[in-house]
Amino acid sequence: MAKTISRRSFLKWSAAVGGTLAVPGGLNIGLIQAAEATNMQENITIISGAGTNNCGGRCLLKIHVKDNVIIRVSTDDEPDNPEAPQVRACARGRAYRKTLLHPDRLKYPMKRVGKRGEGKFERITWDEATTTIANELKRVKEKYGPASRYAHYATGYSATIQAMNLAKRLLALDGGYLEFRDSYSAACSEVATPYTYGTVVSGNSQDDLQNSKLIILWGFNSAETIFGSQTNYYLRKAKEAGAKIIVVDPRYTDTAVAFADQWIPLRPTTDAALMSAMAYVIITENLHDQTFLDTYCQGFDEAHMPQGVPDGQSYKSYILGIKDGIKKTPEWAEKITGVPTDTIRQLAREYAMIKPAALIQGWGPQRHANGEQFVRAGTVLAALTGNIGNKGGWASGMGIYGRQLIPSVPIPPNPFTGSIPVYLWTDAVVRGTEMGPKDAVKGVDKLPSNIKLIMNLAGNALLNQHADINKTKEILSDESKVEFIVVSDLFMTPSAKYADILLPGDTSWERNNIANPWLQGDYVIYANKIIEAPFECRNEYDWLSEVAAKLGIKDQFTEGRKDMEDWCRWIVEGIQAAQPEFPSYDVFKKRGIYKWTYPETSVAFEKEIKDPANHKFLTPSGKIEIFSKTLYDMNDQGIPAIPQYQEGWEGPLDPLREKYPLQLIGWHHKHRCHSIHDNNPWLEEATQQEMWINHADAEVRGIKNGDKVKVYNDRGTMLIPVKLTARTIPGVVCVPQGAWYTPDENGIEQRGSLNVITNQKATPLAKGNTQHTNLVQVAKA
């Protein structure tokens, strides 16, 4: 007998049974009679859409759609001009179609069966899901108080209507929640910059880069990270205008390749030492702008110190070693940073003498054990050289600027006034009631409860993006600690595995939203809904409204706005109120973007510098505070009043290096937007998940290019293939961040998810993340 189905055997069968079979009727499985005159779109429509991830760009996408099917995606093709450059998509933007229409999309609401973290789920109805969520919100509030409820940092999409903020809105209306402060992006920059300037708004508009004669990109990798959709355009223009560009980074980044005249590598965590040595050269060679310092600054020298501070606390005294006996010379810095003394001297002289100069600080170097000092030291260098408030200069620090007012869905005042630094959220789960001011708890003396309930909507920082995955896993798996976790996402991410209720979100192409630029850019985008959400995917606003109804607060939550588009109208009204030139809702929606142009560049602190009598800095003294009395009064060795180089821990001088000799940093690379797109194999062709290691470190370990290696410290182990390259310096290995945690049965990470290695220890002042400060050992696998 044949192992295939022969016609003969089939005919024999049909002859045998055909007579007994009933006449077939309608099946009614999934097909029905088509509705009369179904509106079948003959033509292809082009709708303006956008990427709304937490990406440094907010690209404009032209989406070609026919009958609710996306045929093609192209990008901004409005004419390119210097005042309003194109907002074009990078490789990730162009790969959206493949990620957002991936067959592995979460499709139906699910509830956990089995133990938390096992990843076993069962389909439920939306009604059951929202009822469960409402009941848990109520139960936990009644048992532990509202502050036991926490909406976690989640930036899977970042726009004026954002899931995380909608959750906070709901919780605020329902009696309160535990708020978090700052971010995983820029905690130290956000917290430390105001100690110098009184604000985080320390950036110029990007078109001003064309005015700089020297641009130092310090831990700033816009060619890969996309730090603003138009940044690379303006850097190119600056270069064309003759600016010298220097990249300071342990890696020879794509930005260095694209723009740099000079690459200065240094050991991770040592940035403040290099900056201190620069200050030493500038001061001792008399290259500093004494007039600027005298006029605008507090704390540079002993003559300009605030009241009530003993001698020797000024910045100059620190740099010259008057107080601590250590002169911050290039020789001193070379031992710490690995940067040759000549390079340090030249860098310092160029920054002081080439005018105007922009020292642009990225956010990588502030994700270190001593991140605050890097931030403050950068602002002080800008003050030393007078590059503040002038065209072509750059005040350094956080570097935000904004010329428009674009509202978001409001979060009502939180009845619970307490907040934690976001990076300490797992502490708040484990020992929340023990946390107080020394953990940077603000707004209350101490937390009344631990975190007992988490809403993690459209984010992967519940597990994958938070530090020390093995520790976080253990904490989340304990169902007696956090009693309820609801997660919404597009995919079964490592974070999604820890849900009790797992909900399928819709994508930015399946809903209407308004996206402002990520950090800067004079435009706003209408991200149109292009297609219907498939399966039972649903946006958070929709089901949160249902939860709100079950909690009896639907009207307060929705204010009568039935969907996201209604809120978009409200947002447009707000934009129009602040910027009357803004077009009508329909015009804006159709075009998909509005670009503002200005006759002048915007310069941070221009008024404060031009007219100091009438425009003071928003600091306690009204001046640029190189020395901060507020920091001084904290009386904490770890939080100096002036920027200092502090070793921290797991730096190049840590004795732990005997066991774990290599420094490991992460970086944002082309393949992903944080952890988004990690399941998109097309982008894997663009850049592979591999670790960069210098030839010297590899050879000594018998490692060849492409080998799989074991990378480990006390916190965890990962296996990852390597790329031998001179683009990282000896002693430093680099792993692209955002890979999805993929442990084998022994708990060994297979995909190179960086956070199996990182530490939950926070920085001293901001309590920010320290995810680039790691010591590891590497061995052939």
């Binding site: 007998m1 044949a2 192992k3 295939t4 189905i5 016609r7 003969r8 055997s9 089939f10 005919l11 024999k12 069968w13 049909s14 002859a15 045998a16 049974v17 055909g18 007579g19 079979l21 006449v23 077939p24 009727g25 309608g26 099946l27 499985i29 999934g30 097909l31 029905i32 009679q33 088509a34 509705a35 179904t38 079948m40 026919k66 009958d67 609710n68 099917v69 996306i70 045929i71 179609r97 493949k98 229409l101 991936h102 067959p103 592995d104 999309r105 979460l106 139906y108 699910m110 990843g119 789920f121 389909r123 079964m492 999604a496 797992l502 297609i531 219907e532 959400a533 498939p534 097309w682």
Partner: protein, 223 residues
């Protein structure tokens, strides 16, 4: 009308109904209940050692003995293979296999939707579900086949001819372009007799079926 042809069409409908339900519906008792009598007809398909047929016959024989735990295991397997939340071993939509980007809801889905429309059909969850699910494509063939029988019974030879041609075309232009690959992946990803059986059976069957219909049409042309 030939009794033989009538039997062929009815048997084809039996097969397509079984496969469509198997791939598309949650495996609940009710979904197999009303056709238990008809399903038993599969047991008569015994002049073959095709492994898929074998497994399906085993499944059908075991069905009346299924306990709650068996239904539960079957349901969980269905969920793992076709619902999620984990990555599906063999996503059951045509576009995933035929498009360069391996996505759902692309131009291949649209082409299938247009095919359904041409014959007065559309999916229940229009726009909220990809039209090119294997279960729906199998249901489509069933529906055309059923209409063919109706046409023949009414003596409408032209209509029957058109319907047969449409089935051939759809099998050729769509199902045969991806179902073998889908079934190959599915077979590698499951051991349950219902799904492994269906995975092994389907490509073989639709190949045979298309050739059969081709020859029937040729015969009609000649008469």
């Amino acid at each position: 009308m030939e009794v033989m042809l009538e039997n062929i069409i009815k048997t084809r409908c039996l097969v397509y109904e079984f496969l469509s339900k198997s791939f598309y519906l949650e495996p609940k008792v009710e979904n197999f209940q009303d056709s238990i009598y008809e399903l038993k007809s599969f047991l008569a398909f015994n002049d073959t050692e095709q492994p898929g047929v074998d497994l399906i016959r085993h499944f059908i024989k075991d069905l009346p003995l299924y306990q709650e735990s068996d239904w539960s295991a079957l349901f969980q397997e269905y969920q793992r293979l076709f619902v999620g939340p984990e990555s599906l071993p063999a996503p059951p939509w045509e576009s995933v296999y035929r498009s360069r980007d391996h996505i759902i809801l692309d131009e291949h889905t649209l082409a299938v939707r247009e095919y359904y429309r041409r014959w007065g059909l559309e999916t229940k969850n229009l726009y909220h579900e990809p039209d090119d699910h294997i279960g729906l494509e199998l249901e489509f063939i069933y529906t055309l086949s059923q209409k063919t029988l109706t046409a023949l019974t009414k003596g409408n030879a032209k209509q029957a001819n058109d319907l047969m041609k449409a089935q051939v075309a759809f099998l050729q232009e769509h199902m045969l372009q991806w179902v073998p690959l889908f079934c190959e992946r599915l077979a590698r990803g499951t051991e349950h007799p219902l799904y492994l059986g269906s995975a092994l059976f389907t490509p073989d069957f639709i190949r045979m079926d298309k050739d059969l219909l081709d020859d029937v049409l040729k015969m009609w042309d000649e008469t």
